[in-house]
């Protein structure tokens, strides 16, 4: 199955989607661009701090609802620009949680449990203000009836705890992650930080994995301690070198500061941004074409030093 087919089969209009990665690292960008090319709309997106992927999906008009903790791309956009614009212009509905809460919500989904508890956000507006009203929630059977629940500790002050926040599980129709190594069956090895990818992957009904390398099954089996996602979760595995570009992929390449600065500039202006989408995304029919358009020289600049996992001398 190639990426076009995987996106066509699993990422439907109106579906509930989650994408892996964090701000400008290991976002599944090849898949994000393919979703934009296929003009899939009305997506309900779950993220924690996935900056670049979220901003491009929002910018291209694919997203109608967004549950998120953070929309930022590090130094390149302390608040993601198209995200900011879309919320201010009320083009998307948004529900705010914290990073831990979103991570727990994916964990709950992966565990097959309805909610998980935390002490985070007590006393804050994350509890008091709801982006999705009770009515909206009631009309939508794919949403829990409440954003979150504050509960008295039923184990009488156990752990010196009086109150607990319960956050509801997320079960996406499909999660897309980009990993360093996978085998054809779908065993995955993530190198470096896993962010919440493992929980997002295991929570979903369908999992699309894009990877830098498709490796032999025996290669992964020779070191099972390092394989975080067993094949039984995966619906599709697709080999996409530089599949996280322009985000970084630890051990393979760095983020591309030129691209991200240019993106931030274009994102600030509607006409420029539409030109960016047309020329960078729509005019290139595959990620390979997109990479050719960017140019081999740029990819050389961000190639990771093997000893460091990033481009040691990259001008940023």
């Amino acid at each position: 199955m190639d990426l076009k087919e995987a996106v066509r089969q699993y990422v439907k209009h109106g579906c509930h989607l989650s994408i892996g990665g964090f701000t400008i690292n290991r976002n599944p960008m090849a898949a994000v661009y393919e979703i934009i090319r296929q003009k899939i709309k009305d997506i309900h997106l779950y993220a924690h701090s996935n900056g670049q992927g979220v901003d491009e999906l929002v910018g291209a008009g694919c997203i109608s609802c967004l549950e998120i903790a953070y929309g930022g791309s590090g130094k390149f956009a302390s608040t993601c620009i198209r995200f900011k614009k879309a919320v201010q212009e009320k083009k998307i509905k948004i529900e705010d949680y914290s990073n831990y809460q979103m991570s727990l919500r994916f964990l709950a989904g992966s565990m097959g449990i309805a909610f998980l508890p935390t002490r985070s956000s007590l006393g804050s507006d994350i509890i008091n203000r709801w982006g999705f009203s009770r009515e909206f929630r009631q009309e939508n059977p794919r949403l829990p009836d409440q954003k979150l629940i504050v509960m008295e500790n039923p184990f009488e002050n156990w752990c010196d705890t009086k109150k607990i926040v319960l956050v509801p599980a997320i079960i996406p129709d499909v999660t897309i992650i980009h990993v360093q190594k996978a085998d054809v069956r779908g065993n995955c090895r993530i190198e470096g930080l896993t962010f919440a990818d493992v929980e997002q992957a295991k929570a979903a009904k369908n999992l699309i994995v894009t990877c830098e390398e498709v490796v032999d099954e025996n290669y992964l089996k020779s070191d099972p301690d390092r394989n975080q996602i067993p094949f039984l979760h995966a619906s599709a595995v697709i080999h996409i070198p530089h599949g996280a570009y322009p985000c970084a992929c630890y051990g393979y390449y760095d983020y591309d500061p030129i691209f991200l600065k240019d993106y931030a500039k274009a994102a600030g202006d509607d006409i420029q941004y539409h030109k960016y989408i047309q020329e960078s995304i729509l005019n290139n029919s595959t990620h390979d074409d997109f990479l050719d358009y960017i140019g081999k020289d740029r990819l050389k600049l961000i190639a990771a030093d093997k000893d460091y996992g990033y481009a040691k001398n990259l001008v940023r």
């Binding site: 130094k75 201010q88 705010d96 006393g123 929980e199 996992g309």
Partner: protein, 253 residues
């Protein structure tokens, strides 16, 4: 030796870090402050990221908390769940000093990093909590970076993203939060602390060339300035280490 206000801020924050601290840091100046502490006054302190890296070596300045530079030679690379559990954990969480930024702050150190205006129809949308609300909920001490402006030091926040002392001395307890709370606010004019009894912000120190009065002019609410002292300028030694060891490419400074 001349210095910028950004340098003063980074050094002022670094001076608050102890060797036994585990420093939670975000992007930008907070990352620089953590690196400065480690390189200048608290070499045994541990740098820690919400993305799951503990004790990163940081040969190069990261430009995001997900930057591959934080993964290089950490003591442990986990995930988000590991890092937040580390802070919610009663034994390890108490060693964590969180460094945060925000768009607005009030007198009890509550922070807004979500919206200006109505939540459901905001005038300005910011990034949102990220891990800030979690850190502010869990850990024993937070240090907050803020530019001193009237629109930022607010009588009332437009949205309370990250809990400080909420509405006063027993605010956190009433809400069900663990102990802890804001410890310092590092601004571009001076440094604030929080009163042990009232939990209200007070002026602790002002930078060379700045007056207490000027600081009050830039805040919507009044704070006690009776305890304020003039702070030491960064030493040449501090500045050299900051510039040459922490940010030689001038990415943040």
């Amino acid at each position: 030796m001349g210095y910028t206000l950004k340098e003063m801020m980074a050094i002022a924050a670094a001076r608050e870090i102890q060797n036994s601290d585990v420093v939670f840091c975000g992007t930008g100046i907070s990352m620089l402050a953590a690196m400065a502490a480690k390189n200048i006054n608290a070499p045994e302190s541990t740098i820690f990221f919400e993305t799951g890296a503990i004790d990163s070596k940081l040969e190069d300045l990261p430009l995001a908390v997900s930057d591959s530079r934080i993964m290089y030679q950490a003591s442990s690379n986990g995930g988000l769940l590991d890092s937040f559990a580390f802070m919610q954990n009663r034994f390890t969480g108490k060693h964590v000093v969180g460094i945060l930024g925000a768009a607005q702050i009030d007198i009890y150190g509550n922070l807004n990093s979500t919206v200006i205006g109505d939540y459901n129809a905001p005038d300005v949308r910011f990034s949102g909590s990220g891990g800030a609300c979690d850190v502010a909920s869990f850990v024993s001490k937070t240090i907050i970076f803020m530019k001193l402006e009237k629109r930022k030091f607010k009588l009332k926040l437009d949205y309370l993203t990250s809990p400080g002392y909420l509405d006063g001395p027993d605010g956190r307890e009433k809400a069900g939060l663990p102990e802890g709370g804001p410890y310092r606010v590092i601004t571009d004019m001076g440094v604030m602390g929080f009163d042990g009894d009232s939990k209200k912000m007070f002026l602790k120190g002002y930078y060379p060339g700045i007056s207490s009065g000027k600081i009050l002019e830039n805040m919507e609410f009044n704070i006690d300035i009776s305890r304020a002292e003039k702070m030491d300028a960064p030493t040449p030694g501090e500045l050299t280490l900051l510039r040459e060891k922490c940010d030689p490419q001038g990415l943040i400074l």
